[in-house]
Amino acid sequence: MIEYPRTPPGTQPAYFHEAYRATHRRAPRQPLICLPHTLSELSGPLYGHNPIGETDNDLTRHFPDPPQGERIIVAGRVLDEDGRGVPGALIEIWQANAAGRYRHSRDNHLAPLDPNFRGAGRALTDAQGNYRFTTIKPGAYPWRNHDNAWRPAHIHFSLFGSGLLSRLVTQMYFPNDPLIPLDPMLSAIPDREARQRLVSSFDLSITEPEWALGYRFDIVLRGRRCTPFEEPQP
C-alpha cells in the first residue's frame, strides 16, 4: 500500500486564524503528530450502496411548490490528484435560502424562512466523476465574528472519495461577490490560487435556456490511485 502525497504548503487553511474568532478556543495548540498511512487511513467508508432519491440533487423539488429565489444549476467534476474522475463519490450539500437563512433551529438571522426550501441535497458522481445539482442561489447573511461581518453567498459541500484521507468538507463561492475579499474563512487559506479555486465560475454550457444559470465547480480530492471499486448505482 502506498501513502497519499501530503498536501502542498499553504493550500489548506491553518487551524488557528486570528481573524476567525471561533478558531481561538477550538484550534489545537500542540503540534499535530505526523501519522504514517496504514490500512486504517487508506480505506474509508463506501456510500455507493446507499440509495439516492430521484430528487435528492434537485433542491427546488423537495416540496410541491417551488422555493423563492433565483434558480441555478451547480455542476462539475470530482477529480483525484492525477486529474482522473472519481466515480461513485457521495456529495452532500447544504445552504441558506435566497434570503440568507438556514433551516436550522439556532439560526436567528431576521430573514424569512421559505416553507418550500429545506436547503440540503446529495448526489453520487457518475462513471467520469460528474455531478449536478439544481438549487436556489443562497443569500449572504450576517454573523457575529466582528463588527458588520457578512458571509459571502456560499454552498457547503461534503465529499467522500475512495478513502478516509479523501474526506473533504468545503464551501463553494460565487464569482464577483464583493464579500469574498473580506471573508476570514477564505483568508485563512494562505495560497491565493487555492482560495480562487473555491470560487465557482459562470458557465454558459451548464446554463439551461429559459430555465437557470449554470455555475461550474470542480473539486480535487486527495489520492492518486483512483480505485474504481464500485460502479455508481443506476
Binding site: A22, R25, P28, T38, L42, P45, H156, F229
Partner: protein, 190 residues
Amino acid sequence: MSYIPTASQTAGPFFNFGLTANPGLGNLAAAGAEGERIRLAFRVIDGDGAPTPGDAMIELWQADSIGRYPHPLDARGNETGRFHGFGRLETDLNGCCTFETVKPGRVASPDGSLQAPHINVVLFARGLLKHLHTRVYFESDPANTQDSVLALVPEERRATLLARHDEDDPATWRFDVVLQGDRETVFFDV
C-alpha cells in the same frame, strides 16, 4: 500533471439538516454482527472547558471484530453486510454523542506488525477550518504497548487517546476530545 486538492472550509454551525439528520448513523454494526458490543460515548470540549453545543460532528471509521475493513483495499473482505464500520453523529447541547458498535480487532501496519484495536475519529465543527483526525484506543488493552502509532506519541500525551470504562456500565467506553489546554487530545497530521 498534478492537481492540488481543494481547500477545506469549516462545516459551520448549521450542518445538522444537511449531514446529521439520520440518527441511524450512530450504529456502526447492525444486530447480529460478530464481536463484543460496546457503546462509545464522546464529549467534545473547547479551550475554555466548554462543550461544543450542537455545532460539532464526529465521524468514525473502524475495522470489524477481527480487524477487517469493509473496503476493497482489505483483501480479506467482510461479507456479512451487518458491519458498516462508519458512524456519524452531531454533539448535543452538552457536547456529547454516543455510538453503538463492536470492539474492533487488530489491523496490520505497513511494517507487518499488528496495530492495537482502535477507532479512527474525524471531527468537524464551527471554528475548525479543517477537520481533525484522532484515534480512540482502549485503556488497559495489552496490545497498546506494541502499537506503532501510539509509539509515535510522547508518552505523557498517550493517555489522551485512551477510552476509559464507564464506572457504572462495563459496556460503555468514554472518550473526551479536548481541543485545547492541559489535556489537549493528540491530533494527527495525515
